[in-house]
C-alpha cells in the first residue's frame, strides 16, 4: 500500500514557544471562543497545511489521536462531583470526537466525509490503511491530521501506552495531504496490514539501506529514536524527513508486535 504526500505541516510544543490560541486569533483570524486546547491545536495544524496547498471541498478529512481529548473529561467530571453542577454545554460538545473534525472541516471548507479514528496503538499506521482503502474507491485526496496534546493525566497515558514514567510527553500536531497520485508529490509512504515479529524486522533491516527510526517503545535494534513521546510520533518523523528530503524506515512496537513503514522523499 502506497500513499503520496502532497504537503505537510507540523507543530511540536517544545520547538515553538507560541500561544496556539493567540496564533489562531492574530495570524488566522479564527474565532477561538468555546473551543479548548485540543481543538485549537487541531485548527493550527490544519491552517498551516492550508498555507502550503490547495484544499478542495470534496477532499476527505481524517483525524487520528492516541488518546483524544482527555483534559475535557477531567474537567466535566469535576463539574459534576465538586461543583454539583450539570455538564456545561460547550464542554460536552468539545468532548465529542467529531467536534474537532467539525471545526477543522469548517475552516478548510471540506464537505466530504470526516472521520475521527483512535486505535489501540499504531493509530497512525491504522489510519493510513483506512485512507488507502477509501481512496481506492473515492479517488479524491485526503487531509490527515495526527493530533496529541500533553494532558493533565500524562501518568495515565504512559501506563496505557507502555511508556517509561520518566519519559517526556509532548504536544504535537502533524498534518499531511495524501493522494494515490504521485504527480507533484513530496514523498511516498509505503506500509501494509502486517504485524512483524522481531526476527522478521531483523530480516527487513538486513536488506534496508535507508536511515532507520524507531518509536520510543521500541527497545530492540539500537536504532535512532527521539527522547520525547506522543502516540502519533510517526507522523512527525515523516514530516521532518520530508522537510529534510530524507528517506527512512520507521518501526513502531507495542504488545510484542512491530509495524513498519517506509518513506521515500522525491
Amino acid at each position: 500500500m502506497k500513499l503520496y504526500v502532497k504537503a505537510t505541516s507540523s507543530y511540536r510544543s517544545d520547538l515553538e514557544e507560541i500561544s496556539i490560541k493567540e496564533s489562531l486569533k492574530k495570524q488566522y483570524k479564527v474565532d477561538v471562543r468555546r473551543k479548548d486546547d485540543f481543538i485549537h491545536a487541531g485548527l493550527l495544524g490544519a491552517l498551516r497545511l492550508r498555507d502550503k496547498c490547495e484544499i478542495q471541498r470534496d477532499d476527505a478529512l481524517y483525524l487520528t489521536s492516541g488518546f483524544g481529548n482527555i483534559n475535557i473529561l477531567a474537567k466535566m467530571n469535576e463539574y459534576i462531583l465538586e461543583q454539583g453542577e450539570y455538564i456545561k454545554l460547550f464542554d460536552f460538545i468539545n468532548m465529542l470526537g467529531n467536534t474537532t473534525s467539525f471545526y477543522v472541516a469548517s475552516e478548510l471548507g471540506i464537505k466530504a466525509k470526516s472521520i475521527f479514528q483512535i486505535s489501540d496503538n499504531f493509530t497512525y499506521f491504522h489510519t493510513l490503511i483506512t485512507i488507502y482503502a477509501s481512496l481506492q474507491r473515492e479517488k479524491k485526496e485526503v487531509v490527515l491530521g495526527s493530533l496529541d496534546i500533553a494532558s493533565l493525566d500524562n501518568e495515565i497515558i504512559k501506563r496505557v501506552a507502555g511508556i517509561e514514567e520518566n519519559q517526556e510527553v509532548l504536544s504535537s500536531v502533524n498534518y499531511q495531504k495524501l493522494s494515490l497520485d504521485a504527480e507533484n508529490a513530496l514523498a511516498s509512504i509505503e506500509f501494509d496490514t502486517n504485524f512483524y515479529t522481531l526476527e522478521q524486522v531483523e530480516e527487513v533491516l538486513l536488506e534496508n539501506r535507508k536511515r532507520v527510526y524507531c518509536s520510543v517503545r521500541c527497545e530492540a535494534f539500537g536504532c535512532e529514536k527521539e527522547s520525547f513521546y506522543f502516540e502519533t510520533e510517526a507522523s512527525y518523523i515523516i514530516n521532518r524527513a520530508i522537510e529534510r528530503g530524507e528517506s527512512l524506515l520507521y518501526i513502531d512496537f507495542y504488545d510484542n508486535r512491530y509495524k513498519i513503514l517506509r518513506v521515500e522523499s522525491m
Partner: protein, 363 residues
C-alpha cells in the same frame, strides 16, 4: 470485492435482536422514565438490564462467533464505533474516589471497548472510531473499503455505548431530551431519548446462503453548525446520494429508509426534507421510538434492524407518531408486508457528520 453481512447479535433496552424486532413490529417502546441521573428532571432513557456492561459486550460478540463460520477471531479485524467508550466506568471511579488514581488505565480510554474485546477474543487487529452518533455507521464504511481492497477477509463491526452522566447530562445541557418516549416525525415533538446498546455485525468477503450484502456506504460533512444540521439538508442528501452511488443504485430502488429520526426538532425536520427531496414516496420510519438513541451504537444496531427488515419482508411501522409534521414523506403507521430488496439506514451526528449505509437482500 463485495462485502456480506453473515452474522449478527444485539442487546438493547428492547432485549436481544428477536425481542427488538418483536417490539418494533408491535410498536412497544422500551423507553423508561428515569430520575437516576438527574433527580429533579425525569427523562426518557433506553436502559438495558445487565450487571456488567463489558460482560454483556463479550457475550454479544461471543454469540456472533458461535453462530459464524469462524473458529476464532484471530484473522478478523475488529472495528468498534463508540461515542463515549469507557466513560461510565471512569465516572464510577471518579465519583467514588474524587480523583483518577484508581482508574484502570486500560479501561479509561475511548478505545476501552476494543481493548476489552481484544483481550477476550484475540482479534488480528483493532480500530476504534469516535464520531459521536455516526461512529458505528462509519465502522461499516471502513469495513466495506478494507474488504474491497483485500486488506481483510473478515471484519467484525461492533457498536457499543453505555449510559453515563456525561451523555445524559450533556444532551440535557443541549435542551434536546424528551421527558417521555420520543416521538420521531411527530408535529410538536419534544426531543430524544439517550439510550445504550451493544450490536455486533460480522462482515465478510464470502457470500453465504443467508447473507445480506453491504451494498454501499456514503458519508459527508455539513460543516454548517456544531449541533444543528444544514437546514437545506445538503449534508444529509449528499450522504444518501453517495451511498446510492457507491451501491450503483438509483433512489427508486430503495424500498425502505431506516431514518436517523432521533425525535429532535432539528434532525427530523431536515432528514424528512432530505428524504422527501431525494426519494419518491419511499417508506421511511425511525426505530428510535422503540430503542431510544443509542449514540455510537446506533449505526450497528440499525444495520441489524435493516437486515431483519429485508429477511422478514416487513416494513417497520412508526411508533409514537399520530400527527406527522411533514406529510410529504411516506411514514407507515402499521407494518407493511412487501418484498424488500434494499434498505438505506441513516446515521447523522453533531458537527454535520453524516453516514448512510445500504443493505441488500440476495436473490
Amino acid at each position: 470485492m463485495k462485502a456480506f453481512i453473515n452474522e449478527y447479535a444485539s442487546l438493547s433496552c428492547a432485549g436481544d435482536t428477536e425481542a427488538l424486532m418483536e417490539a418494533i413490529y408491535s410498536k412497544k417502546s422500551a423507553i423508561s422514565i428515569d430520575t437516576s441521573f438527574m433527580s429533579d428532571t425525569p427523562v426518557g432513557l433506553g436502559k438495558m438490564e445487565y450487571e456488567d456492561f463489558f460482560e454483556s459486550l463479550k457475550s454479544v460478540v461471543k454469540r456472533v462467533l458461535e453462530n459464524s463460520n469462524l473458529e476464532n477471531f484471530h484473522k478478523t479485524l475488529l472495528i468498534v464505533g463508540s461515542s463515549v467508550g469507557g466513560m461510565a466506568e471512569s465516572e464510577t471511579h471518579y465519583f467514588k474516589d474524587k480523583n483518577y488514581k484508581s482508574i484502570d488505565p486500560s479501561r479509561h480510554a475511548i478505545s476501552v471497548i476494543s481493548d476489552t474485546l481484544q483481550d477476550a477474543f484475540n482479534f488480528y487487529d483493532t480500530r476504534a472510531i469516535s464520531t459521536a452518533c455516526t461512529s458505528s455507521a462509519n465502522a461499516f464504511l471502513l469495513a466495506k473499503r478494507l474488504i474491497a481492497v483485500g486488506a481483510y477477509e473478515n471484519v467484525l463491526v461492533v457498536g457499543a455505548d453505555a449510559l453515563c452522566y456525561t451523555t445524559v447530562c450533556g444532551f440535557y445541557a443541549l435542551s434536546v431530551l424528551s421527558s417521555k418516549a420520543c416521538t420521531p416525525f411527530q408535529e410538536g415533538r419534544e426531543g430524544m431519548n439517550v439510550a445504550e446498546a451493544i450490536a455486533a455485525v460480522l462482515v465478510q468477503n464470502e457470500q453465504q446462503s443467508d447473507s445480506i450484502e453491504l451494498c454501499g456506504v456514503g458519508a459527508s460533512s455539513d460543516a454548517y453548525h456544531m449541533t444543528n444540521p444544514d437546514p437545506e439538508a445538503g449534508g444529509a442528501m449528499s450522504s444518501m446520494q453517495n451511498a446510492l452511488d457507491d451501491a450503483g443504485l438509483s433512489a427508486k430502488e430503495i424500498d425502505y429508509v431506516n431514518a436517523h429520526g432521533t425525535g429532535t426538532q432539528a434532525n427530523d425536520k431536515v432528514e424528512g426534507f432530505g428524504v422527501e427531496t431525494l426519494f419518491d414516496n419511499v417508506y421511511v420510519s425511525s426505530t428510535k421510538a422503540i430503542t431510544g438513541h443509542t449514540l455510537g451504537a446506533a449505526g450497528a444496531l440499525e444495520a441489524i434492524i435493516s437486515c431483519e427488515v429485508i429477511k422478514q419482508g416487513l416494513i417497520p411501522p412508526q411508533t409514537n407518531c399520530k400527527d406527522l409534521e411533514n406529510s410529504a414523506i411516506n411514514i407507515p403507521f402499521e407494518s407493511v408486508k412487501k418484498d424488500v430488496n434494499y434498505v438505506l439506514s441513516n446515521s447523522f451526528a453533531f458537527g454535520g457528520n453524516n453516514t448512510s449505509v445500504i443493505f441488500g437482500g440476495l436473490k
